[in-house]
Symmetry: C2
Subunit: 225 residues, 2 copies
């Protein structure tokens, strides 16, 4: 895989509760030239990231109801709308994990649909990813939640928050790719720290990689590792 293609599949990620705006600015400044698909930053950094990334090919990604997913549906929609209005191009929401675990897939779909509508209202060009937090789910729940997320309007399904019981697995990605078909994105995220793992996720069906190690992955690719 060539470097440009690889970079354009990476959401380079910075979601640390202990980092303030000053550290955020420094981090963003160091990512500007890498050609990543997005910088995925905590909500408080979205206005800063939008200003700093203007004129580059890298978009602004952020998170909603993160990482537990149990905000009110209306609050999720409010938060997503506001984040798109202040500059986010991609929004990664956490679905209602409890609803999945009790088999309420209509509820899952409605929750996603309300956020998808808010995102679309705020910008025609913005898109929604739905985080399943697969570490809590069975294979059957991963499949059904993927289908419900797409029915609700997700452009991508995403494995994990990075704050849950585990990160992405190859099996998660295969299941999700099979469940959503070829027209929908699959984002593997959580614990992906090297090129070998990233390529394995892509081979399993991922079209986007969420990682805080994007620069290390690109360096390994450049070194032919």
């Amino acid at each position: 895989m060539d470097a440009q293609t690889m970079a354009a599949m990476i959401d380079q990620t910075f979601l640390k509760p202990t980092e303030g705006d000053a550290a955020g600015r420094a981090w963003i400044a160091a990512q500007l030239d890498a050609g990543f698909a997005t910088l995925c930053v905590m909500p408080s950094l979205v206005p800063i990231a939008a200003a700093m990334l203007e004129g580059t090919c890298t978009k602004v990604c952020t998170v909603v109801a993160f990482p537990l997913g149990y905000a009110l549906t209306a609050s999720k929609a409010d938060e997503a709308r506001r984040l798109v209005e202040v500059g986010a191009h991609e929004v990664d929401m956490v679905l209602n994990i409890g609803a999945v675990l009790q088999g309420d897939y209509d509820g899952v779909q409605e929750d996603v649909a309300a956020v998808a509508e808010a995102v679309a209202d705020a910008s025609d060009a913005a898109l929604l990813k739905v985080i399943l937090e697969t570490g809590y789910l069975t294979p059957a729940q991963i499949e059904a939640a993927s289908v419900a997320a797409v029915a609700g309007g997700a452009a991508f399904v995403k494995t994990s928050t990075g704050f849950g019981p585990r990160g992405a697995s190859i099996d998660d990605v295969r299941l999700m790719r099979a469940a959503v078909g070829p027209g929908i994105g699959v984002k593997a995220a959580g614990g992906i720290r090297d090129l070998v793992t990233a390529l394995a996720m892509i081979d399993a069906g991922a079209t986007r990689i969420g990682t805080s190690a994007g620069r290390e992955i690109m360096a390994a690719l450049a070194a032919g590792a």
Copy 2:
């Protein structure tokens, strides 16, 4: 301490991302007669809790920007306002931890003030607690964050989310009580699972205990443990 006084100091807590509405209803039903200060539930359960607790002396508490605290200030205010409108009497928000760690106490105060205003707008009777997540902070940061939270309009300062690096400590509570003075509440939360620990926190200056073991603590008190 008599049982009624003890129960009235407890926020009996249910903040599990893996539990759905059905499990939430069952849990709330089992807490109705205990005389707890509040049931502290995830946002998705607030309308249900408000309906089920109507006519009891137990109020509804919930959480905002939980547990990472890095939502946009305006999103925190939106979320708090909406939660009070659908039945929350007490709102436990997470402050901007990154702002504390970079010494931006004006930013901390402004973030809290926006949420305090939203809560007050939605109900004269509602109150705001501010979670410091003390596990990330030095003693000096705990003191300064407590002062900033109170300046922003917090009715209580609270130690921890239960999802951070550690729970409440006696030293946290002592520091926070000394920082805020006698007129403000101090809530100890995170890892408090027995009567001895709860009483030690109260002795150190806590006026509210956040725990998922409220019934066990009350049983131990009744048994003279």
